[in-house]
C-alpha cells in the first residue's frame, strides 16, 4: 500500500512552494534584496535541522537555528539598520506589548478545562500571535518592519517567560525548545504573517483615504515618489545639481531611508 499517494504528495509540494514563495515575497521588504531574501529562506530551511543545546541551565534548553536564531538575527539586523532612535524604540515597545498581549490572551484567557483549546479558544495561537503583532506594530509605528520585529521578538519573549515558568515550577523533566519547529515554528510564521497583515492594513487604510497624501511630507520623500522624468532636460527636477539619474535616485532613496520609520 502506498503510504503517500499522489494527492498527498501534491498537497505537500504545493503547500511548501506557496509557503516559501510567500515568505520570500514578504522578507523581500525587510531591507533585503531578492537574493538576500532567498538566502534567508535557505537559512531557515537548513537551520531547521540544527538544534543548539544551551549548557548549564536548570531546565534543559535548546535553541533552533532556523526557528529562532535566523528570524531573531534578522529582527536585530533591522533594528540596527533602523534610521532613527524613534524607530528603534517604537519597534521595541511594540515587541514588549506584543509579548504581554499574546501571553495574556494565550495563557490567561485561553486556559481552563474546556477541551481541546481552553475557554475563548476561538482562534489558534498560530494565527492569533501575528494578528496581535501586526495590529500593535501598525498602531505603534505604521510599519511592516516593526510588525516583523514585534512578532518575532514578542513570541520569543513569551517563550522565555514560559522557560522561567518551567524553572520556577522545577519542571526538570521538561525540555524547553525555542524555535524547535524550524521554518514552521510560530516565531517564523508569526513574523511573516505579521508583515503581510501590516501591509494589508496599511494599503487598505491608504486606499480608503483615497491614496497616499503628499501634503506636509518631507521634500526628499516626495522626490523619491515622483515619477522619474525620462527625456526631460537634465537637472530639471534635481535639487542636488547632479545630472545622473541613478545617483539622483540613490540620493533620494537615502534621504527617504533616513526619514521613514
Amino acid at each position: 500500500m502506498d503510504r503517500f499517494p499522489l494527492g498527498l504528495i501534491v498537497l505537500i509540494v504545493v503547500s511548501l512552494l506557496i509557503f516559501f514563495g510567500i515568505a520570500q515575497r514578504a522578507l523581500d521588504r525587510m531591507r533585503l534584496s531578492d537574493k538576500g531574501a532567498l538566502a534567508v529562506i535557505l537559512a531557515l530551511i537548513v537551520g531547521s535541522f540544527i538544534n543548539i543545546p544551551v549548557p548549564g541551565t536548570p531546565v534543559p534548553l535548546e535553541i533552533n537555528v532556523g526557528g529562532a536564531l535566523v528570524p531573531v538575527g534578522l529582527a536585530v539586523y533591522l533594528l540596527v539598520k533602523a534610521g532613527t532612535g524613534k524607530e528603534v524604540s517604537r519597534a521595541l515597545i511594540a515587541s514588549a506589548l506584543t509579548a504581554a498581549v499574546i501571553w495574556f490572551i494565550g495563557s490567561r484567557l485561553m486556559t481552563g478545562l474546556p477541551e481541546p483549546a481552553g475557554r475563548f479558544g476561538f482562534l489558534d495561537t498560530l494565527y492569533l500571535f501575528p494578528i496581535v503583532a501586526a495590529v500593535i506594530a501598525y498602531i505603534a509605528g505604521r510599519s511592516r518592519r516593526s510588525a516583523f520585529i514585534g512578532a518575532t521578538l514578542g513570541v520569543l519573549m513569551a517563550d522565555i517567560a514560559n522557560y522561567f515558568y518551567l524553572v520556577r515550577n522545577n519542571a526538570t523533566n521538561a525540555l524547553k525548545s525555542i524555535g524547535g519547529a524550524g521554518a514552521f515554528d510560530s516565531i517564523v510564521i508569526s513574523g511573516i504573517l505579521a508583515i503581510l497583515l501590516a501591509d494589508l492594513i496599511g494599503e487598505t487604510r491608504e486606499r480608503l483615504q483615497g491614496g497616499p497624501t503628499s501634503e506636509g511630507k518631507p521634500d526628499a520623500l516626495l522626490a523619491g515618489l515622483r515619477k522619474p522624468q525620462f527625456g526631460r532636460k537634465k537637472g530639471d527636477d534635481n535639487p542636488r545639481g547632479d545630472g545622473d539619474k541613478e545617483s539622483r535616485r540613490e540620493l533620494a532613496r537615502e534621504e527617504v531611508d533616513r526619514l521613514e520609520d
Binding site: M1, D2, R3, F4, P5, L6, G7, L8, V10, L11, V14, S15, R29, K35, S48, N64, G106, S107, R108, T111, L113, P114, E115, P116, A117, G118, R119, G121, F122, L123, D124, T125, L126, F129, R144, R145, V155, D159, N162, Y165, N169, A171, N173, L175, G180, A181, G182, D185, S186, D199, L200, R207, L225, K227, P228, F230, G231, R249, V256, E260
Partner: protein, 427 residues
Amino acid sequence: MKTKQFFVILSLLMMFTGIGIIGYLGLSETVLPAWNPASVLSNEDADHIVGKAIDIVDAKGSVISRACRGVAVGDEIINSKGDHYRVIKVDQNRAVAKSLGKDKQFLAWHEFFTDERLAMAAANRKGGTVGIYHTHSDEAYVPSDGSESIPFKGGIYDVGRSLVSRLQQKSDTRVVYDQTPHDPHDNAAYQRSRRTAMKLMKQNPVAIIDVHRDGIPDASYYRATVSDNKVSQLRLVVGRQNPNMEANKDFARRMMAYANKVHPTIVKEIFMAKGNYNQDLMPTAILIEAGTHTNTKGEAERGVALFADAIPTVLGIEGGPQTRNVPGGGITQPGATGTGGWRAVGWILGLTLLLGGGFLFISTGSLKGVGDRLAGFGKEFTNYLGPVTRIRQRAKKPAGDTKVMKKASDNMADRAVIDHRDDVTED
C-alpha cells in the same frame, strides 16, 4: 497595451478561480472557515463554571453530543453511525445542530473495510513509525489521580504509555513517544508542542497522534463496554483552522471507520472544532480525547489500547486492504487518504489565488494598477536570470522611428516606477 489587458484579465481570472474553487469545495462538502468573533462576547462567560458542558441537540431536541464550552457555530460532528451534523446556534448551555445527512465518504470507508480485508490484514508486515505526544501534559483523571490537573506529570502519560505498549506488543510499529511537557494548560500549549511535533516528524513517522482527555463533567457520556472491556470511548478532533483540513478529516474518517470495525463504537465521534492543533504540519496528524476527566484512568487506558489495534492497519504499517477502488474514486490510492489530499490542494490554491488577487487589487487601487504590478512581476526574476535576459536584450535591436522611441521611453518610465515602487514607498 495588449499585455496589460492580458494581465488585468489574468488577475480577475485568478480571483474568480479562487472564489470558484473555494465555493465548489465549500458548498459541496460543508466546511466553514472558522472564525466567529462575536462568539467571544456572546457565548462565553469569563467566570464559567469548571467542567460545565454544552449539550449539542438536533432539530428534534435529542442530544447528539456533549462538549465543553468552546462549541462554536460551524463546528461539525460525524458520529460513529456516519450521521453528519453542523452546529448552527449556540445558547448558554445548549447548541443546536443541523443534520447534513449521512457522511458519504465515511460510509464509503465503512464499506471498504470488509471482513475479508480485515482477515488479510495480518498478512504482510512492513513496519513504520508512529509519533505520540501530549500537548496538555497536565491532564489527569479525577477518580484515579485525585485532581483534574497535575502539572508536568498528569495521568495522561499513563494513557499514552498504554497506547504505546499495545502498539509495540501487537504489531511491528515503531513508536516514538515524546514525553516533553508543555505546561501550563492553555491554548499557547499548542504553540509549544509544535516543536515537539516537528521533532517527531524528523523521525519520518506515518502519523502523529496528540493524546488528550476531554473536560466534560459527565463520565457516562464516554463510558461504554466495548469488546467485553469497560472502557471510555474516544473522540477524534480535527481542527478547522488548517488549510490541509480536508486531508486530516479524511484520515479521521478512515481511523473511525476501521477502529469501529475492529472494536465497535470504540470511537464515539469525529469533532471538527476551532483551532489548528498543529495538524497543518502533516495530513496524518490527529488529536484524540481519551475519555473525560471524570472517567477513571483505567477506563481510558483500556480504551486507547483497543484503539491501538486499529492503527497499524489504517496506516499501512501492517498489511491491510490492498485495493484500488478508493472511496470517492480517483487517482489516489488509499494509503493515507481518499480524496482529502486533492481537496486540501484545492483549498490552498483557492485561498492563495483569492487573497493574492484581492491584495493586488487593494494595493494598486485599480484594475490598471493590478495589470501594471503583475506586468512588473516577471521583472523580479531578472535578478536571478540576469545573464539570460541580458543576452535576450542584446538580441533585440532598438527601432529607429522617433514615435516608437518616445513610446518606448514612456513604457520604460512606467516600468521604472513599477520596479522601484517598493523602494520608495516601503515602510
